[in-house]
Amino acid sequence: MVVLEFERPIKELEDRIGELRRLAGPSEELQGEIARLEEALEAAKRRIYTNLTPYQRVQIARHPDRPHFEAYVDAIAEDFYELSGDRLFGDDPAVRGGFARVGEHRVVLLGHDKGSDVKSRVKTNFGMAHPEGYRKAHRLYELAGRFGLPIVTLIDTPGAFAGRGAEERGQAWAISEDLMALAGVPVPVVSVVVGEGGSGGALAMCLADHVVMLENSYLSVIAPEACASIIFRDSGRAAEAAEAMKLTARDLEAHGIVDEVLPEPLGGAHQNPDAATEAVAGAVRRALSGLAGKDPAALVESRYERYRRIGAHVAGQPG
């Protein structure tokens, strides 16, 4: 498993315990020392993992062993009936979706896919979608609207891809039409940010009625490294930028941007993937049940009110 910089003390203790165990073999001699180190390990884990800085959480959100799309689909849905393609250019493996059964609900389920090994990560472009990914999402939103199926989205992207082809095929246009579609789709929309929530590429899939975030996920207008390089002219000051931008789940909950934060296993979702995916599945089921049966027009109106009121402006005379 990949060890993050701030996890080094934990890793060192684990290594020493392993080493002592090997040396001790069946003898009782070193047991006292091992027990002492195990206590120190528990203490280090609590100390480090319960005092994570925003930038450390960003690193956990990006952890390569963190559960990804397929793990969540397995936990949330039965009979995931996958659909492909934007009917215009191609199929983008960075955005996957289809029909699914979640408890008693039939839904359209879609999300970013980062892949789970080197090969699939390259194939999914590390979860950075091209316009065809966002147009596939658009197709699914419309399908959901026409058939009255609630929409469930799983957000995990560093951002929409910045590349020549993406620009040629209208990345910005694809995203803006996704926002327009979600703004008006007459079915419940439930979003869970399970990892990275990178800017417009994340928002295109989480303009929703109920937004959930995993404790160590983040949602931000720009990556902390890029923010630091623009504002502080030094990408090395990313930790500072992450702090300043208030991008963690708890910060966003405090600012009223998201509705619910799901605790993760100590050290992050990757330490106990089943617990994390089950927590997300439970939250999705609850949210769907809560929104079921609402009048479609009232849903769209309350979604409008929800986003209409977000802002930090002062005064202004009415026109």
Binding site: L182, S199, L207, H313, V314
Partner: protein, 299 residues
Amino acid sequence: MAARGARGAGRSEGRYEIRHWLSKRREYARPAPETESGLGPIDGVFTKCEACNEPVYAKDFEARYNVCPNCEHHYPLAAPERVRLLADSGSFEEWDGGMVAGNPLGFEGYEERLEKARRRSGLEDAVLSGGAAIGGRPVALAVMDFRFVGGSMGSVVGERVARTIERATERRLPLIIVSASGGARMFEGIYSLMQMAKTSVALARYRRAGAGAYVSVLTDPTFGGVTASFATAADVIIAEPGARIGFAGARVIEQTTREKLPEGFQTAEFQREHGNVDRIVHRLSLRSDLERVLGYLAW
């Protein structure tokens, strides 16, 4: 209320404006021909166009709304000047004047940046909005200004654009938004991102209500969150010649993909060729072009 636009742009300020735009342009332009003497007025009456390197009579430049009389290069235009260009004389009535940005994240240095931008531009934020008439036809108009923190979208831009769209919806007016933006206002973090959602829900309602036609005008430069929200979700998209328009900036793309980008990448012409904008219209024809399109779509 009187037209802030018409008053804000006196002759005496005009020359400052040109120098400002020229130097501003140098800051964000991709490699452009350098002038020997640097930029700005040669003798106070003439100025040098950075695009064609020719001396230009400053008054001609002003009279042509910052378009070079020699090579037709379109320089950015201040929002009040844009209003003067597009609105029937005396028809513009500002909405939501006096609205200013808060500092929701307590971002260090943000207030100073805002103060400096207000002083330099004479505006309260990166957008000027109001009711106007174009060719006698009432419209809702919002115009962005790149001078104000790079035309970035924070809460004030989002709120004023959303209110403009809402008034257009209530009063069943055509909607015209002229964009110029480097993208999100980073100092406002998540609030900046959420302005994309805010303007989109307002625009979706305008569309749903069938309240009128939305014509988006993209000017140099328009990028990021503005392009990925209200600026491209329009019925008709017009761009100014040579304007750079896109999602990610060319430098970011070159850094992340190590790809050599073609000549003219992300220009208005590139975007039209790729099917992303409808028309490229010279600034001095923009008003009559808007009149024409409104003649088809407005009632």
